[in-house]
Amino acid sequence: MNFSDSKDRSHRLNNAGWLTTLGAWVLAIAWVLPLFYALWAAFHPAQYATSFSLTAPLTLENFSAAWQAAPFPRYFFNTIVLVLMILVMQLVLCTLAAYAFARYTFFGSSVLFSLMLVQLMVMPEILIVRNYQTLSSLGFVDTLFGIGLPYFASAFAIFLLRQTFKTIPKELVEAAQMEGASTLQILRHVYIPLAKPTYLAFSLVSISHHWNNFLWPLVVSNSQESRPLTVGLQVFSSADQGIDWSIISAATLLTAAPLLFGFLIFQRQFVQSFMRAGIK
């Protein structure tokens, strides 16, 4: 094999040819199309929602109409509180549980572990009828706490954290033990700091999942007391009068904006944290 040949091939292996680049871009454009359309419809008046003439005037009317059509400030508040509450509870509860699974040997550990794994497959929405009954008898219907309750223990988090905790070198733990640290202190000063990428990765997944969650909040919330953005949106776009894409697009952008901006800014960290969390 001569040198130019292998250089060509290595070039091919590393750099994308024009065909690949074209394909990748076509796919990307197709993928972003709905967002492009939302931007178009939201910033132009209603009559241009379906015709794409370049001379169409820009307007912010749709945003103000959308903002006034439903109590968005309240919905934003509800969603932010809900998402943060769930995240905090998950981080606390799942750290403790993962620690137990990772570093303790105890009777019934594999049974309990399997039981936990079940929740990976069976999400609270599947058992929606029964879970609603439970919530109703506890009196938490139409509360943010009620919406968050089934999600406080996340099997996904326990699974990830356990995996990460298991990779923490025993020497570090032993060193801390020799300094007289209690189990909780070891947890706090050794395990948690070293698991930061995992925490970050999981937090991002949890936040985006619960920001966009629909079915369970739909069933649990009855009024704007607890209604999050997703339910607010659906309720507002299924009016008897029919669809107005301009206003719906504006409302959609308002709802998705925080996550969108968050992702745009933290793209790199997003991918990196997944990488370092070693999700395999």
Binding site: M1, S6, R9, R12, L13, A16, T21, A24, W25, L27, A28, W31, V32, P34, L35, Y37, S51, V92, L93, C94, L96, A100, F101, Y104, S109, M116, V118, M121, M123, P124, I126, L127, I128, V129, T134, L149, A153, F214, V219, L229, T230, L233, Q234, S237, S238, I248, S249, A251, T252, T255, A256, L260, L264, Q267, V271, F274, M275, A277, I279, K280
Partner: protein, 291 residues
């Protein structure tokens, strides 16, 4: 630490999480099983043991069968398609390709947008005559299609939306896995003069198997769980052509208020997930022998 106290400590650590796990997963699962043989079909006054009546009614219910077969097609389409697309996306974004950042962002975008919102935009894409897709079709001489109102197209239309929504999410997992592969593999392949396809199929793909299984399980769960867009786009229609099991479950439980029958449908969903879980367990055992 003495052995006993470490046992106790472990249980204490697990307790808070398990209260919620059991409360909202295991306890209702059993409760649902009981409900399905207890309550009469039409939420009567007091629950009574009705044996397999609910199951019989379900077997005779054409809407149940339609929803189940729809869900099967939905799964058969979304799982391979979204996985394949996500691998391709990850491979592309992993290389030195023009506009990498933009590509990665575009592919991941659908994940951060709430399904319920985006569904409305897709309605515009699918609208007959002046909808975006039909405008393009008509440009190339194809007749306008009624994507959401034609029973032969409705399911496919909602399936496409689901694939679009989840491929980018899976891409991230593959991307992370690709980036942890030792560069020595690539170097070795270069020296050997391997083609791209060979490199992927013989080296990357097997090493990505754990990720593939993880993604597969997620895709499977999603195929049962993703019904948000149906609420907005078709409401299960036309004539149940796009009805999925979880959607039908919601209708029966929260529109018809038939708790017994809804529980029966839930049991079916649980069975499907149980089978999927077992499959994952065996696959995991067999295929991941690299560690």
């Amino acid at each position: 630490m003495t052995p006993t106290s470490s046992h106790v400590q472990a249980y204490l650590l697990l307790l808070p999480a398990f209260v919620f796990l059991v409360g909202f997963t295991h306890y209702p699962a059993i409760g649902t099983l009981i409900d399905s043989v207890m309550l009469a079909l039409r939420g009567g006054r007091a629950p009574a043991f009705v044996g397999l009546d609910n199951y019989q009614a379900m077997i005779q219910d054409p809407v149940f069968w339609k929803s189940a077969t729809n869900n099967l097609w939905f799964a058969l389409a979304t799982i391979p398609a979204s996985m394949a697309i996500s691998i391709v996306m990850a491979l592309w974004v992993n290389e030195k390709i023009a506009g990498r950042q933009f590509l990665r962002m575009s592919y991941f975008l659908p994940t951060v947008m709430p399904m319920i919102a985006v569904a409305n935009i897709w309605i515009f894409f699918y609208t007959p005559d002046y909808g975006l897709i039909n405008q393009v079709l008509q440009l190339v001489g194809i007749k306008s299609q009624n994507f959401l109102g034609d029973p032969n197209l409705a399911l496919m239309s909602v399936t496409i939306v689901a694939i679009w929504k989840e491929a980018g999410f899976f891409m991230i997992f593959y991307l992370a896995a690709l980036q942890t592969l030792s560069p020595s593999f690539r170097e070795a392949a270069q020296i050997e003069g391997a083609s791209r396809w060979y490199f992927f199929w013989r080296i990357q793909w097997p090493l990505l198997m754990p990720t593939t299984i993880f993604v597969l399980v997620n895709a499977l769960i999603n195929s049962v769980r993703m019904v948000d867009h149906i609420f907005v786009m078709t409401n299960g229609g036309p004539n149940n052509a796009s009805s999925l099991l979880l959607f039908y479950l919601y209708e029966v439980g929260f529109k018809f208020w038939d708790r017994g029958y809804a529980s029966t449908l839930t049991v079916v969903l649980l069975a499907i997930l149980a089978i999927a879980g077992l499959m994952q367990f065996f696959l995991l055992d067999r295929k991941t022998h690299y560690r």
